[in-house]
Structure formats: C-alpha cells, structure tokens
Amino acid sequence: MKYTIKKDPHEDERVQEIIEISGQNIFSCYQCGRCSSGCPMAEFMDILPNQVFMYLQEGDVDTLLKAKTPWICAACFTCTVRCPVGLDLAAVMEAIRELQLRKNYDFVDPYKVEERDILPPIALVSNFRKFTP
C-alpha cells in the first residue's frame, strides 16, 4: 500500500469540512491509541479509530469514505471520555458519515429490508437516520 501526499493535509478542503462539521481539531491527536484499545466495536472495524485520525492527518479522506469503521461506530463515547487531548471521536465519526451522506447516496433501500414486518420500528428509524440522507 502506498499513499502520496499531494498537498498539505491542513489545506485539504474535505479535512477542513470534517473539522468544521465535528468541531474537533483532528490534528491534535498524537496517536496514543487509547481510543482503539478501549473501543467495544474495534474488532469489527476495518480501520481502527486512531488510524482514522492518522488518515485524516495525512489528508486521505477517500479511504475513510470507503471504510466500514464510521458506520460500525456505535457512538458509545468510550473513546471520547478517555481521549487524553479531549477529542470527541464520535463527532468526527459522525462528520465522516455526514460527508458520505451528503453525496445523496442511500446505503439502505427501505423497500429491500427483509423481514421489515417483524423488526422493531425503532431499528428501522435509526437505520434510516444513519444510512440515508
């Protein structure tokens, strides 16, 4: 795997957008790894939460938009509570999802959800909230 830094990640528009949406200075992360070590969902993620910040600090938003991690994040806030520099990771994950959703791409087609009759309505509601614009 290889990644070429084309321009200063600080100047990258999409990184700036994530900073703006989340209100978090993603460049203050110094990669201690505490978010990943404490994350209850980390084992299901393809990119660990601390790596999400490294990708952002390198300006590689493309990889993150393709990643499962932001969608697996349950926003339980364990990482946010434990982060030594006070970053709200859940807000950053939300910002990444937001960026994807603003492309107006539906991850879930309500009509294709199987067994929607027996699913609790709240599951469907949150599903639509999270996976559709």
Binding site: K2, I5, Y30, Q51, E58
Partner: protein
C-alpha cells in the same frame, strides 16, 4: 613490629552477606587465630552503631590492626578508616575484606563454599594487613586559579561562576569568538528566546570580567601536573592582526576581495578572507584566514620556494590600507603562553554528523541540510535574514520535510544512542518555518517524539495543534530528486503504508558526536572518552561532573549532548566542584605511593618508562630512581616492572601480596 592484636568485624549487610555466608561460623573460625583478639559480627558495619563498635573496640582491646569484612572497599573503606582514626588507630592499619561481592553474591547457591571462601578471604586480608605501615596523608599546595576549556554556553557559565567566586579564570576557545553552538541557533526551545539576546550579556560579562582571562582562537597544547597544580601550555593561533590595536570596526571586511564559505554559518553563508565571526563576536576582532588570503598564500609560496619573483611584487594589502589603527601586519603571530591553574573544567561541546554521511537520504543534494545548517537559515542574523531559502536556487520553499533520528538510534549506520535534543529542535524549526512562511507545508517524519523536559511536551502539542505541522510516524528510507523537487519516501507505521511526498527542502536531524579534536585533548588531560568522542564521567549518576583525574571536571555537551538548560546547570555545577577544590588551603593526598629502596635500586629506568604520570626521574648523581610524591598516583606500574623490587607501593609490598596469595591459593 608485626601486629598481634587484630580486631575482625564481620558485617551481615542485612541479608546480603548473612543470607549466604554463615557469619557466626566465620567469626568463630577467625577468632581461633592467635593474632586476633576480637572477632565479632554486626548487622550493618557502615551504620553509626557499627562504626561506634570499631571505635570502642580499638580502645577496649587496644587493637593494633582492624579488618572489616563487608562490601567492596570502593564503598566503605573510607568510612571504616575514619572510624578507626576516631578510635585512635592509624587509618592505614585498617583493611577491607570484600566478602559480599567475592563470596556471598557469586555463591548464593552454595552457602557452605561461600562461608569457607569468606574465611579464606579474611585470613588473606589479615596476612596483608600485618605488614601495613602507619602512614600520614601528604599535603599538597593549591594554585587558586582555574582553566575552562571551551567557550560555549557551559564553559561561559563555568568561567563566570568561578570568576564571581573570586577565582582567577582562564577561558580557552578554539574558534575566534566564544558563544559555541548556541550562538548559531535561530531561537531556542521551548520558550523561543533568541539565543543571541540571552547569550550576549553573558559573553560581554566574560570579556569585561576582571577575573577572566580570555584566550580566543587558542588551543590547549599540553597539560602537566596534578590536582591543584597544573601547568598548561596554550597555543594562541596566528591571526595576522594585532588584536591589541584592532577595534573591530569592520572596514577591512568591506574592502577584502576574497569571499569563501563561512564556518560560522556552516557553509550556508560567506565571509571574507579577513573576517570577524559575527557582529556580536567576543572578542570583536578581525583575523585573516591564511588559506584564503591571496597575499598570505603568495608569501607562503615564496617562502617555500614554489614561486621566485624576479622583482619585489606588491600583493593586495587593501585591508591594511584602510585599517586606521594599523592593526593588520600580515605577520605570523602564533604564540605559546604558559599558565598555572589548580582546576580544569572541560566544556568542549558537540558537533553533528554531516548530511553527506547519509547519501540515501539525499545528503549529496544542496537542498538537503543538517538541522544545524538550517538554524543559520532560520536565524534573523543569518545569511538569508531568517527567511529560509533553498541554497541551490534561492527559492523560498513551499514544502519542507524534517527527518528525525538520522544516524541516531542506528548503531549500524551511525550511533546507538538517542541524540536527545533533535526532537525538540526539529519541532522548533518546524514552528519557525511556519512563523516565517505560513503557507509552507511542513512534514515531520519521526520514530518517537522524545520531549522530556519542562514545557517540552506542551511545546510539541502546540506545534501539532496550533502551527499545522504534519507529523508522520516512521523513518524515511529514501530521498531522491524528481525534477525540481525532492521525493521523500517514508512509511506511516500507524496506518501501515508507504508515504510519498514531494518537497523543496529536506532537513536531517543528524546524530550528535563529541567535538573534533576532543580525543586529542582528552589524551593530554589523561581523561577517558568513548568511541563517539564523549568524555567519560566518574559515575554516570552520582559523579557526572568529575573525571578519574583529580582536579579535572567536565561540563555541558562534552560529557553527552545536552540542551541549553542542562548545559548551563552543568557549567555551574562543574564550577562549584572546582571551587570546592580551590577553596581548600592545602590538598591532602593518599600516601599510598611508590617508594624506592635506594639500597637496591640500580637506576635502570624501567619504572620511569612505565610511569604514566611522569612522576619518576633518575637521580644523575646517585643513579637511583626518585619518585615525585605529588605526581605519583600509586598505580603500581613501576613496581610490576622493577627487576629488583626496589620500587614498591607502600602497603602493597611484594611480601604482603605474596603472603595473601599464599593463603588464597591453599588447596581446599
């Protein structure tokens, strides 16, 4: 004369000795000897009650010799000898039997053997002790003057502290101005003080202090003598200018037609053949570089007969023509001065490995610089007035990569240690780039950020959070040219992928080493050093400023690379150590020195050749060896080489040692 009222004290050392060695049995066995009147044990001989026990037993049993069986004599020989002296016994009638390091610790698995070995060690020590003579310490006078070698920040601080204490101090600096590496820096971490602003007051103090004699552009030629009484020869290198007349006006610099790369700017800027190091130099005096001045080169060639001018030729004398005080004389004014001092502080500092040593990181390219060179480009007083520009084309860089640990933590290609200051100065330089050129992208490739100082970690976070410096964890392996740019190929070990970035300049934080020439100086001073040119302290933790040579102290980056805070602390510390020595009216010296039996000595001179301290001479009239007690260190090299055992170290005589060895070598 042989002792027959010996007291033996066996220490438990808590469980260190008593846990393995059966101390009660040892005491009983030793007690059986006829010459031993007291054999006892105690839990801690080094404690106050333990020492009291020795004192009181000497009086009670009228002891004429004492053996203390405990730890290594390096730890408590002095303690026990002092205790005996308080009890009224000559301290040189006390010997230490080391049963902790020699018996208890190495034979933890075999207590029986350890116990027998302890008995044997004590018996051998008693045999050695029995022929000990009572000795008195030798008194040596002290010269109340100090020498500081190296005029960097540590040396300046040491010289100022010594001078303020009323001690006449000589400061020797090999470069034409004091200030050292600190004066080259742009700003200092973590406060971003300008080093010129904070160092010039100290430099001026050095120049004006009535107790400081400054020899700039000078080197220590030779050192003789011993603690309290050193004779130092200092070579004042040739400047070709009369410094007594030179006012430092700088007129000569303006007219000199020859320009060469400046050593002060580390090749980043230029200077003339006649030059003043910088505007704030102390002393502010001009000097001519013999190798670049056309006149001196011409005269040299004529002298060597390479050129034979037919008639008298007038070669450039532009500088001398404009010199109002007539200071420039073009004559070799090298001079050797002799100084007598009582203590020496060595503060020779550090230097960094050159970029050329790392061709894989682009060291051969003009825009790949060492961090110290880059300091000059960032310095407001530097050749680019503080706005970094590429040396190749003068372009202001749009992107810069910094690479940490170049040669450091790399025993295969550089040095095994961490150079300690690079993390912080790299972060500082990254910040300063952002100050000067906010639009320039800065990439910082590191393995670890080591920010272990007051305010250092906060400084790092400022660079990360506020200044927009990009930190990438992983060491760069390759830098090569692509068009106008340099491609940096590194790795991001946190995401596990190769990172490539094209930049305009690359700055290498190359490993620090001891200064050039420090090894030669160390040989002159007879102090130890390691393969990277760091001077060795007596004890890394507890005696970091002392060397094994009495009266010679080390300070600052001469011992190991340090930041300014630590260098200044060590400068003051070494000065305090020197003051302790110089504040005594006389020095006491251990009397365990070589002594010549003139009845036997044939004056062959073998001992004289072996003596590393130059303490032995051959009396031309009586034709026997003579020992200078002040110089002798009691090492015993002479004794080992004497064919007739005429020269021996007091209380380490051949008979004593042989008897002790006899006891030790008896078959179990």
């Amino acid at each position: 004369m042989a002792m027959n009222r010996i007291g033996v004290f066996i220490c438990h050392c808590g469980r260190n000795i008593a846990g393995t060695v059966d101390v009660k049995r040892v005491a009983e066995e030793i007690g059986k000897r006829e010459d031993v009147v007291l054999s006892t044990t105690y839990i801690f001989m080094c404690s106050e009650p333990g020492q009291k026990l020795i004192e009181e037993s000497i009086k009670k049993y009228n002891l004429d010799g004492v053996v203390v069986a405990n730890c290594s004599p390096t730890l408590h020989e002095k303690t026990m000898r002092n205790a005996a002296a308080r009890g009224g016994l000559n301290p040189y009638r006390v010997e230490i039997a080391n049963i902790r390091e020699w018996a208890a610790w190495p034979h933890e698995d075999n207590p029986e053997a350890a116990t027998r070995k302890a008995i044997r060690i004590i018996n051998a020590t008693i045999e050695k002790l029995k022929a000990n003579a009572s000795l008195e310490p030798i008194e040596v006078p002290v010269t109340r003057r100090a020498l500081v070698i190296g005029g960097g920040v540590a040396g300046i601080q040491a010289a100022l502290d010594l001078a303020d204490a009323g001690i006449e101090t000589i400061l020797v600096e090999k470069e034409p101005s004091i200030g050292g590496n600190m004066f080259r820096l742009s700003e200092t971490f973590p406060t971003l003080d300008c080093p010129q602003c904070i160092l010039t007051p100290k430099m001026n103090d050095v120049a004006q202090h009535p107790n400081i004699k400054l020899y700039a552009y000078s080197e220590v030629e030779s050192v003789e003598g011993y603690m309290g009484n050193f004779k130092v020869r200092i070579k004042k290198k040739s400047t070709f200018v009369d410094w007594d007349k030179c006012t430092g006006c700088g007129e000569c610099l303006r007219v000199c037609p020859i320009s060469v790369k400046s050593e002060y700017d580390l090749g980043m800027g230029e200077r003339k053949a006649i030059y003043i190091v910088n505007e704030q130099a102390v002393p502010l005096k001009a000097l001519i570089d013999e190798n670049s001045c056309i006149r001196l080169q011409f005269e040299k060639k004529v002298r060597e007969g390479k050129i034979k001018p037919k008639k008298a030729v007038k070669i450039c004398s532009k500088c001398a023509d404009v010199c109002e005080p007539n200071a420039i004389h073009f004559k070799n004014n090298e001079e050797i001065v002799e100084e007598e001092v009582g203590a020496i502080v060595v503060a020779t500092g550090y230097e960094v490995m050159p970029a050329e040593a790392f061709p894989e990181l682009g060291g051969k390219y003009p825009d790949v610089l060492t961090a110290l060179q880059f300091e000059r480009l960032l310095a407001p007083s530097g050749p680019t007035a503080g706005i970094p520009r590429r040396p190749s084309d003068g372009k202001v860089p749009e992107s810069i990569a910094f690479i940490h640990c170049v040669g450091s933590r790399d025993p295969q290609n550089g040095v095994p240690y961490c150079s300690r200051i690079c993390c912080m100065y790299t972060i500082k330089q990254a910040m300063l780039v952002k100050h000067a050129l906010p639009k320039t992208a800065v990439y910082d490739f590191y393995i670890d950020i080591r920010s272990n100082g007051k305010g250092y970690e906060e400084f790092y976070h400022r660079a990360k959070e506020e200044y927009g410096v990009n930190f990438i964890r992983g060491k760069v392996s390759k830098v090569y040219k692509v068009g106008d740019k340099y491609r940096v190929q590194g790795v991001d070990t946190l995401t596990g992928r190769i990172i490539e970035v094209d930049v305009d300049m690359v700055i290498l934080a190359t490993a620090a080493k001891g200064s050039t020439g420090v090894k030669e100086l160390a040989k002159k001073l007879r102090i130890p050093y390691d393969e990277w040119g760091w001077l060795k302290e007596t004890h890394l933790k507890l005696r970091p400023l002392e060397t094994p040579v009495g009266g010679v102290f080390i300070a600052g980056a001469a011992q190991f690379v340090k930041d300014i805070t630590d260098s200044v602390s060590q400068g003051s510390g070494a000065a305090a150590k020197a003051m302790t020595l110089l504040s005594r009216p006389q020095l006491e010296k251990e009397p365990l020195l070589a002594k010549v039996d003139t009845e036997i000595c044939a004056g062959c001179g073998r001992c004289k050749d072996q003596c590393a301290y130059g303490a032995i001479s051959i009396d031309p009239v009586r034709h026997v060896a003579v020992v200078n007690e002040a110089l002798c260190e009691g090492c015993g090299a002479c004794s080992a080489n004497c064919p007739t055992t005429a020269i021996q170290v007091v209380n380490f005589k051949k008979g004593q040692i042989i008897r002790a060895v006899d006891v030790l070598a008896e078959v179990f």
